[in-house]
Every structure is written in C-alpha cells, then in structure tokens.
Subunit: 178 residues, 2 copies
Amino acid sequence: MHEALRAVNESTVAGLGRLARFFGFSEVMGRLYGTLLLSPEPLSLDDLMEQLQISKGSVSMNMRALERWGMAREVWVRGERRKFYEAEPDMWQVIRSVLSGRERREVQTALEVLSDSIRKLHSAETELTAEEQALFHFYVERIDDLQAFFRFAQLALETVLGSEEMVDFEAVTKIEIG
Amino acid sequence: MHEALRAVNESTVAGLGRLARFFGFSEVMGRLYGTLLLSPEPLSLDDLMEQLQISKGSVSMNMRALERWGMAREVWVRGERRKFYEAEPDMWQVIRSVLSGRERREVQTALEVLSDSIRKLHSAETELTAEEQALFHFYVERIDDLQAFFRFAQLALETVLGSEEMVDFEAVTKIEIG
DNA sequence: ACCTTCATTCAAAACGTTCTGAACACAGGG
DNA sequence: CCCTGTGTTCAGAACGTTTTGAATGAAGGT
C-alpha cells in the first residue's frame, strides 16, 4: 500500500485511540474503531488482530464492548464462517449512544444524591445547635449550586439527545444559549 | 457534628470524587475540591490530610493541580504561617477553566492532524494505483466526516467559552441547535 | 545562627487496569 | 462422532498511575 495511505491510516487510528481514552474508554477500543472506520470492507477478528498487533482475546473483548456502545456491528459475509465487523460510520449516532447510556445515568444519579442531601438536611434542621445551623445554611447553599449545575448538564444532554436531525454536522451553524 | 451534616458532607465529597474521575482527573482532586467547597473556612494542608485520611505529599501535589486548573486558590489567613486553600465556588468558572485549557487544545490538534492527512492524501493522489485510488476516495470521505465532527465540537466549545454571562445556571432556559 | 514548622519532591510501594495466551466451548463438515 | 476452525473466557503478567513516607528545602521566630 502507498506510504501516504499507510501514514494517514496510522495517525487516524492513533488519534481515535486518543479520543477513546479521552472519553473514558480503552485506547484499544478507539484503535479498533478507527481501523474499521478506514476499511471499505468488514474485517474479521484475525484481520484486526494482525493490523493492530494485539492478542485475539483483547480483540474479542474490546469488539464486544464496541458493539455494546453501538460503535460497531457484526456483519455477515457470505461464504465466511468467521465474524466480520464494521464501524458505525455515523459519528452523531455514536455520540448519542454513548451520552444516552453513560453520562445520562451519571447526571441522573448525581441529581438524586443531591436531592437526598437537601432532604436529609431539612429533616435534621430542628435538632441542630446554633453552630451547626450556620453550617446547615452553608451546605444548603452550596448544594443548591451543585444542583443547578447538574440540572444544566441534564438539560444540555437531553437537548442534544433529542435532536434527531443533527446527523449532518455541516448543517450546524450555531448554538444559542439564552 | 450532627450526623446529617456528616452524611451529606461524605456523599457530596464522594460524588465530586466520582465527577473528577469522570472528567479525567484523579479522584483525590475531586475529594479535596469537595471538602473545600463544603467548608465555610479555608483549610490548611493538615486539615485536608486529616479529613480525607491521605498523606501530606498527596495533598500537596493534588492541591497544586487544583490550583493550576483554577479549581482552588490559596488564601492568606492572618496570624497563620501555613497555607490555606478555598475552593472556587463558581462551577461555571471551573468548567470554563477546564474546557479552555484541555479540551480546546485536544480539539485543535485533532483538527490539525486531520488537515495534514487530507493534504498528504491529495499530494500523493497521482502516484496511486487504481486500487489505491479507491481507497484514497474512501479515506477522504471518512476523514471529512471526522473533520466535520471536530469542527462541530470546536464550535460548541467556543460558544460555551464565549458566553461570559452564563454564571447563573438557573437563567439558562434553552439550548438551541439549528 | 539555629531551631522549628511547614511544604515540596521523589523513589519505592501499592494499586488498579489492560493485555496476553492457553484452556475451553461451540459449530459444521466429513 | 471426531476433527478443525473459530470465538470466548480468565488467571496471571505487564503496565501505568497514584500514594506514601522519608529526605529535602524554605521561611519565621528567637
């Protein structure tokens, strides 16, 4: 294969590995995704194993993780007994899948914990000494701030997840916050 | 101290530790930040060491990291020789500091790598065999998609970073993407 | 100048995470 | 049925990251 193609492949795969780490996935997942993304044909586990020089076990486990996150899918190649995979090429789809599965739950539980805290504080209010009262007010204030922050995050998340039509990034001209 | 106050403190500190991991920081940084956030008075390194039951060295290093990220600041307490810290209580400020320092650079370099790739591909175009030509087109297409994605990320980032007045989360009513 | 108090640094240890490779399981074909 | 090709699992190894604790450094007080 031509040097330029090889170089581009390598830097893209490396970059997606980096991106994966950044999002809290393993680097190998990103590299597998990148390799599939730059392959016109679906690839078998052996292909991936060879291209990335990693063990069969690692390919197997990481590919299943990619499937769970909707970042790759199994594809049947006629006449082949082996499994073949291809990347989900729609980035927007990938983002939505990750956000809705992970960050959404994260924000949700954070909000629950904060509500619990506020409730717990209020139900203990009468039992507090004068000194504790001061701390009580301080806590309520700070936790209110945290709640506001997470509510904002939730809103932003739901907005992004709710916009189906955003498949074409080029069409995005502006985000307005007001 | 009252049980409720203690319980709330603990779950909040734990939650912020979790959040810190989520953002790619160490858990201790989040816990330190949370402890400071829930303290009406600035705290010394020894205070933090005792409250979180971690070594002095760890407190020292992690606090400097927090300072670098604009999440805490040193505070002078009169009559005290020791250093005291307080948390930056403005979440929005914290977010902006992190985004502008880290994710921004990340997106920037990703875009540069992708531009380089496209350039490299085009300058090699004439030297390619017929088979490589097909791959060339495929690569260009996929890398264009990645570019669109990162350009969107950049736009979103700059929009958020550019909106100074967003200090009050409550005022945020809607994000419009169109 | 010395002593004390506090902060920082860094090498080694503890810890967690990810990868490997061999063992296992499964399916189809002969 | 057994054999072969394939995918999965998991214990141990390898690796990276974070913490510790002791040594070092800095600064104030006497």
